[in-house]
Symmetry: none
Subunit: 411 residues, 2 copies
């Protein structure tokens, strides 16, 4: 359900501050049955101490059994039900590359494909080329396709066969079907608007068809990468901002483009972070949050490496990243936020080398807590937590309630 309209009715401004920390993909699994998860294996004296003072629970970010992508996982944590607040794949890919999207721009996720001489698809991923090959081909396309019918064409490599196409121009719609036929042996589909009477989307479809044709011509000499399939045609959604809904002045402290982008979708100010040698930039983030402390009252602080190490299947490295966060925690607590919460946007068990659906631990510290038997911030202990099993979208109203920012519902 969409809880935001109800929150909008009840929220009120106060001086209290909320520090909301997301350890990306922090939930995990044991390496063997009965063994410790990454969180349980990590030595985390500071997290343990906070867990003993705070209240714990577990979050399902999307739905039991559904492994959240980073976009939906974060939207859920920000209070935006990901089944309702749907971001197009093109927009998500653009955000992940740090591409700025205006409200008129159309973002498209492209796959390089191999086409047969008769134009039918031989390989929907062009044999998964190395990313360097992708960059070479993108450079070639950029040379040859700069504008179509007055609309500027921008192309960016994502990885392997994946790229992003941005159309910049006025009067473009995004209600256009994919051209990816989702199978081989048939020709790519023509781009078509969902509704023929939607002129703006018909124009976009026309430009995308011209782009596909121009790309085929430009790539005619290539052995494998000789066609494109277009998907997730979308515009930046215009949602109520977190500020409009809650009265908060929210800031995001994240170094990776995807997370800065998702935060900006809900109206957070993405603070500048000095990155230095470590792209996760814990010290840069700490400086950024300290400098901005007086200017905002909700701080979303993101750490990426708990996810990346899980994706790499490196149990020990994920444990180490958790321990590194634990060392940073006392300085974060010294900021003096009235309400502090720590969780993940999904699980990334290193034994699975990918995102998973398993619930993530949620730790809440602030005023008006209940007694709680959980002693550590781990999957097993969170199960004992007094907050019980919650949905990701429950986090925002709980943070607001404990911060004294949510008035009574009805008399």
């Amino acid at each position: 359900m969409d809880i935001l309209p109800h929150i909008r009715e009840l929220s009120r401004k106060t001086d209290s501050k909320i520090l909301f920390i997301v350890l990306d993909g922090v939930g995990g699994l044991p390496q063997q049955a009965g063994g410790p998860s990454e969180l349980a294996a990590a030595k985390t004296p500071n997290l343990d101490a906070l867990a003993q003072k705070g209240n714990l629970g577990r979050l399902t970010l999307v739905h039991p059994g559904f492994s959240p992508g980073s976009g939906p996982g974060h939207l859920s944590l920000f209070g935006y039900d990901p089944f309702i607040y749907d971001v197009g794949r093109g927009v998500l890919s653009a955000l992940g590359l740090g591409i700025d999207l205006g409200p008129e721009d159309v973002a498209v996720r492209g796959n390089f494909a191999t086409l047969a001489a008769d134009g039918t698809v031989l390989d929907r991923r062009a044999g998964r080329p190395p990313t360097e090959e992708n960059r070479r081909v993108i450079a070639k396309l950029r040379q040859k396709i700069k504008e179509i019918d007055g609309v500027r064409i921008e192309l960016e490599t994502e990885s392997e066969h994946r790229f992003v196409l941005i159309l910049r121009g006025a009067g473009l719609g995004a209600a256009v079907h994919d051209t990816d036929p989702q199978k081989t042996g048939v020709a790519p589909l023509a781009a078509r608007p969902h509704d023929e009477s939607d002129q703006a989307s018909a124009r976009t479809a026309d430009i995308l068809n011209k782009f596909s044709e121009l790309a085929r011509k430009a790539l005619a000499g290539e052995e494998k990468i000789n066609g494109v399939l277009l998907r997730g045609i979308s515009k930046r959604p215009l949602w109520p901002t977190l500020g409009e809904v809650t009265g908060l002045t929210p800031a995001a402290i994240a170094s990776y483009p995807m997370y800065r982008g998702v935060a900006s979708l809900v109206g957070m100010t993405a603070l500048e972070v000095e990155i230095g040698e470590d792209p996760d930039a814990p010290q840069g983030k700490l400086r950024a949050i300290k400098n901005a402390w007086d200017d905002y009252d909700y701080f979303y602080l993101h750490f990426k490496k708990t996810d990346s190490t899980g994706e790499d299947g490196d149990f020990a490295a994920k444990v180490h990243k958790i321990e590194m966060f634990d060392e940073l925690l006392p300085e974060l607590l010294q900021l003096g936020a009235e309400v502090v919460a720590i969780t993940g946007d999904h699980s990334t068990p290193s034994v699975m080398k990918g995102h998973s659906w398993h619930p993530v631990p949620f730790l809440l510290y602030g005023p008006n807590l209940r007694n709680d038997e959980a002693r550590r911030f781990t999957e097993d202990e969170a199960r004992k937590g007094v907050l019980g099993d919650l949905h990701g979208t429950h986090v925002l109203p709980l943070l607001l309630a404990h911060a004294g920012k949510l008035q009574k519902f009805g008399a």
Copy 2:
């Protein structure tokens, strides 16, 4: 979700009786971390014994983080999802004052305000006058405004700056925006219908504008209370009754007008209760329920003081009220209801001096129970209960099921 249409399909009449006891605001918090809550501090041998025989769980009445008002909290317990079954603020205030509302009447919540010479709002609450001042001004207004365009005007003091205005007449709509601008330095808004083509609501808006003008003239000589702001313009909702949905013949045993009113909204018969010296009237309630035992099969029994003492911030007094209820419990059990349930309509921790969002314990006793490790009716023990974490709207179908009144869903 609205479970009532599904219950209506499956409910069947049987001879079994349900006793549903609401201890208002009974959920609480420890006074200091790790200490007992009010329920845990209370000596409750009878509740303990019932908890050991029964099944426990915890209820969220509205949504995690949302502190329920008495209206929404009770509606949830009666099976009416408070996000769907919305009562206007004017109607709730009228119910709280024991004002009878016909289906044609419009109820409005008014605030006395201080207006500047230029008509802009200086203070939206007129400096929070003592309730006696409010009564004096209401008496003055009653003298001068008795009818507008053939519609009878009734005024009642609520408390401090708050009053209730009732319009009694035919052909009135209630889809009218508030006149409270929600800020100072601007003039009160004119009352406007949501939809200009809604004649009945346009008529109500017109009468409310005339009322605001007449009130300003009548209060011209007043120092602080010289204007009115009107909110929550509403009519008594026409919902399916509990009897229609379930086949039950439900009775309410409550002494405070708000709870009698909310029960009557869902079609319960509010029994007469002799009040005597204690407005919570436990002995009067006991006599009322005994006298009516043969005539009804669902008894909603309300006790108020667990909430009032919590609102007062008086931990010891709330503990005492819980213990007083415990002493009454054996006589209630002797009535012989097949199914007995005890819970609250929200938490009112005395450390917070107000309603809170924290889940409330729920105790269910009757046939077909599971094993349960909870030993007491407390927040901590309820967490161990076999019923788990439920929503308030789950209570009605569970009571019906244990009473044998709900048939199989589907073949």
